[in-house]
C-alpha cells in the first residue's frame, strides 16, 4: 500500500512534467527564435517552410533560419521551421520533408544535409507542385529541374580562398593542420577539398588532418593530439567556426600563440574573436542574403511575378575573407 502510493506520486510527477512541457510548447514557441506555426492574419497567409539540419550550436544555420523567418513574417506569411535534430540525421530530414508535402505547405526552402538523399523526396515535391529553393547546400548535379534555384556559398570556393589566404599569411611555406567537420558531411568535405586546392603548389605541408565532428570537445582533443605528433605548425584550418573555441583552448594549452587560424562562416562571435586577436581570419558567408533572396524569389514565384523557369539555377550569395584589416565592414555584415 505504501509503495503503490509512492508509485502514484511518481507517475503523477511524470504526467505533470509532460503537461508542463506540452504547455511550454504552445506558450514558449513564440519566444524561441525560430517559432513554430504562428498564423499571421495579414497578407497571403501562405505557409513557407524551411528545413535544415539543426540550429543547435550552429550560428550560421540559425542566421539563415532567422533571416528567412523575418522575411517571411514581414511579408505577412507563415513561417515554419523543421530541423532534423542533429548534424547527421539525414533520414529524419527526408521524413520531415515528406510530412511538409503531406500537409501541403505552399513552398519549401531547403538546406539539404546530403546531396543525394533528398532527391527522391524533391521529386515528390515536384509532383505536388510545391516550389523548392535550395540554400547553403545544393544537390547532385543533373537534377536542376527539381528546384527553382540554389542560393548559397560555393563551399569549395570558400575553402579555396581560405587556402590562398593562408598561403599568403605563411608566404607559401610552412605546416598546416586541418580540423574537419563530422565524417560524412558534404559541406565540410567540400571546404576542406577547396582548402587543399587553395594551398596546392605552394610550399605548405599538411601535417595533420582529423575530424572534429563539429564539436568543441572533440576538436580540442584531436588538436591537442595532433600538436603532440608535430608541434611545428604555423596555421590551422577548420571547416567551421563552431570548433574554433576548442582549437583555441588546445593551442593555449600547448602554449602556442603564433599559430594562424582560418575558419569558415563569419559570425559575430568570430568577428569578436578576430578583434581579440584569437582568430586570424574566417571566410564569411552571408546567410542574411541567402535568406532574403530565397524568400523574395519564392514569393515572386508564388504570386507569379517571377517565372520559375527563368531564374538562374545558381545564385552565389558570395563570400569574403574577414580579418583584422576589414574589421569595420565585417562588423556590419557579420550575423
Amino acid at each position: 500500500m505504501k509503495r503503490s502510493g509512492l508509485k502514484v506520486l511518481a507517475l503523477v510527477t511524470v504526467m505533470m512534467l509532460l503537461s508542463v512541457v506540452s504547455f511550454g510548447c504552445t506558450s514558449n514557441t513564440a519566444a524561441t527564435t525560430a517559432a513554430a506555426t504562428t498564423k499571421s492574419t495579414a497578407g497571403g497567409g501562405k505557409t513557407i517552410a524551411f528545413s535544415l539540419k539543426t540550429i543547435t550550436n550552429d550560428d550560421f544555420q540559425k542566421a539563415i533560419a532567422d533571416s528567412i523567418q523575418s522575411a517571411v513574417e514581414a511579408s505577412g506569411n507563415t513561417f515554419e521551421l523543421v530541423t532534423a535534430g542533429d548534424q547527421t540525421n539525414v533520414a529524419n530530414q527526408v521524413k520531415q520533408l515528406e510530412d511538409l508535402i503531406a500537409k501541403k505547405v505552399d513552398a519549401i526552402i531547403l538546406s539539404p544535409m546530403d546531396a543525394n538523399a533528398v532527391i527522391p523526396v524533391l521529386k515528390k515535391a515536384k509532383e505536388a507542385k510545391i516550389p523548392v529553393i535550395l540554400v547553403d547546400q545544393t544537390i547532385e548535379a543533373g537534377n536542376e529541374d527539381l528546384y527553382v534555384t540554389y542560393i548559397g556559398t560555393d563551399n569549395f570556393n570558400a575553402g579555396k580562398e581560405a587556402g590562398t589566404k593562408v598561403a599568403e599569411w605563411l608566404s607559401n611555406a610552412g605546416n598546416v593542420m586541418i580540423v574537419r567537420g563530422a565524417n560524412g558531411s558534404s559541406a565540410g568535405d567540400q571546404r576542406v577539398d577547396g582548402f587543399k586546392a587553395g594551398i596546392e603548389g605552394t610550399g605548405i605541408k599538411i601535417i595533420g588532418e582529423q575530424a572534429g565532428d563539429w564539436k568543441n570537445d572533440k576538436a580540442m582533443q584531436v588538436t591537442e593530439n595532433m600538436l603532440q605528433s608535430n608541434s611545428d605548425v604555423q596555421a590551422i584550418f577548420t571547416a567551421s567556426e563552431v570548433m574554433v573555441d576548442g582549437i583555441l583552448q588546445a593551442l593555449a594549452g600547448a602554449g602556442k600563440t603564433d599559430v594562424k587560424i582560418m575558419a569558415v562562416d563569419g559570425s559575430k562571435k568570430a568577428v569578436d574573436l578576430i578583434e581579440a586577436g584569437d582568430l586570424t581570419g574566417t571566410m564569411a558567408q552571408f546567410p542574411q542574403i541567402m535568406g532574403k533572396t530565397a524568400v523574395d524569389t519564392i514569393l515572386g514565384v508564388l504570386d507569379g511575378s517571377i517565372d520559375a523557369s527563368k531564374v538562374d539555377k545558381y545564385i552565389d550569395s558570395g563570400t569574403s575573407a574577414y580579418s583584422k584589416d576589414n574589421l569595420a565592414d565585417a562588423k556590419k555584415t557579420a550575423f
Binding site: A10, A211, D217, Q228, S229, D245
Partner: protein, 327 residues
C-alpha cells in the same frame, strides 16, 4: 630435493599472486599492455608533455565514469548522462555569462539541476520499477530537449576568466580540473572501500533481496546512486564547458554516455551489478584516451578513427571476459 620442492612452491605462489592480480586488476594489465605497445611503436608518444595531455584529456571523463560506475554497481544504467552534461553546461553558461550571476551561483545551480534529474531517474527506477534502461533513455530525450529549449540552440563562448579559473588554474604541471578528478577518485575510492554506504551499495548490487532482508536501506541506496550520477554529470558538464571555454547544449551527448560506460566495463564493472572499482574505471578511461591519442599521433586517416578505436576496445573487452572465465 627439499630445495627443488621449495622453488616449486615459490614459483607456484608467484604464479598464484600473478593470477590473482590479473583477476582483480584486468584494466591495469590491459593498460600496461597497450601503453607498452604505444611506447614501442607510436612515434612522439613517449614524451612527458604527451603524458600530460593524456591526463588532461582523461580528467573529465574520469569524473563521469566514476558517476556511471556507481549506477552500474547497482545493476542499473544511466543513458541520460551525456545529455545531462549538455543541459548543465548551458545552465552554468547562461547564468554566469548571459545573466552575469556570480560563478558560485552558476555552478551551484548546474549541480543542483544535474542532481535533480538524477533524483527523477532514481524515483522512476526504484519506486515505479521502470527499468533503468528505459527511464534514463526517456529522461535523456527530455533533458536533451530541455537543453535546446533553454539555450534556444545558442552556444556561449568567451566565458568569464574567474569561471575558467575554476578548472584551468595551473597547479604545478597539473591544473585544477585534474586535481578535482583526483580528489573525486580518492573520495569515491574511500566511500566504496571504507564506508558503510559503499559496503551496503555493493551488497545491494550483488543481492538486492538479501541486503533488503539484512535491513539495508535499499531504496535510499538505489535512488542515491542516480542522484550521484546526475551530480557527476553536472560536474562533467561544468568542467567540460570550462575546458573548451564554450557552453553548448550538445556537449557530451549519447556518444559520451556510451564511451564512459565502455570505459567502466573495461574497468571491470558489470552490468549485472556488484562488481566495479574506482581504480578499474580510472584505468578504463585512461585506456580509451591512450588509444585515441595513439590513433591521432600515428596520423591514421580521419575516417579510420572509429573503426580502429572500436576494434582495439573489442580486444580489451574480450580479454576482460576471457579473464573472468578462465581465472
Amino acid at each position: 630435493m627439499s630445495v627443488s620442492t621449495k622453488t616449486i612452491n615459490r614459483t607456484s605462489s608467484v604464479n598464484q599472486f600473478f593470477r590473482r592480480f590479473v583477476k582483480n586488476n584486468g584494466a591495469i594489465v590491459i593498460f600496461v599492455i597497450i601503453f607498452g605497445f604505444a611506447l614501442l611503436f607510436v612515434k612522439n608518444f613517449a614524451s612527458a608533455q604527451n603524458m600530460l595531455i593524456i591526463i588532461k584529456q582523461s580528467a573529465v571523463p574520469v569524473i563521469a565514469c566514476i558517476g556511471m560506475t556507481m549506477v552500474l554497481m547497482t545493476g542499473g544504467i544511466d543513458l541520460s548522462f551525456g545529455y545531462n552534461i549538455g543541459f548543465t553546461s548551458i545552465v552554468a553558461g547562461l547564468l554566469i555569462k548571459t545573466m552575469g550571476a556570480p560563478v558560485w551561483l552558476g555552478i551551484l545551480a548546474a549541480l543542483t539541476a544535474g542532481a535533480a534529474i538524477g533524483l527523477g531517474n532514481g524515483i522512476l527506477v526504484d519506486k515505479v520499477n521502470v527499468p533503468a534502461f528505459i527511464t534514463t533513455l526517456g529522461t535523456g530525450y527530455i533533458v536533451l530537449g530541455a537543453a535546446q529549449i533553454v539555450s534556444k540552440g545558442n552556444t556561449i563562448n568567451k566565458l568569464p576568466k574567474n569561471f575558467l579559473a575554476v578548472g584551468q588554474t595551473p597547479v604545478g604541471v597539473f591544473n585544477t580540473t585534474i586535481l578535482i578528478a583526483i580528489a573525486v577518485a580518492v573520495i569515491f575510492y574511500i566511500i566504496l572501500q571504507r564506508s558503510t554506504y559503499g559496503r551496503a551499495l555493493s551488497a545491494f548490487g550483488y543481492n538486492k533481496r538479501a541486503s533488503f532482508v539484512s535491513g539495508v536501506a535499499t531504496s535510499k541506496i538505489h535512488i542515491s546512486v542516480y542522484v550521484i550520477s546526475g551530480f557527476m554529470a553536472a560536474m562533467t558538464g561544468i568542467l567540460l564547458t570550462i575546458r573548451v571555454n564554450c557552453a553548448q547544449p550538445d556537449l557530451g551527448g549519447g556518444d559520451y554516455t556510451f564511451q564512459i560506460i565502455t570505459a567502466a566495463i573495461i574497468g571491470g564493472a558489470s552490468l549485472f551489478g556488484g562488481k566495479g572499482t574506482i581504480v578499474g574505471s580510472v584505468f578504463g578511461v585512461l585506456i580509451i584516451k591512450v588509444i585515441e591519442n595513439c590513433i591521432n599521433l600515428a596520423g591514421v586517416q580521419y575516417f579510420l578513427f572509429q573503426a580502429v578505436l572500436g576494434i582495439v576496445i573489442l580486444f580489451a573487452i574480450v580479454f576482460e571476459s576471457i579473464k573472468n572465465k578462465k581465472l
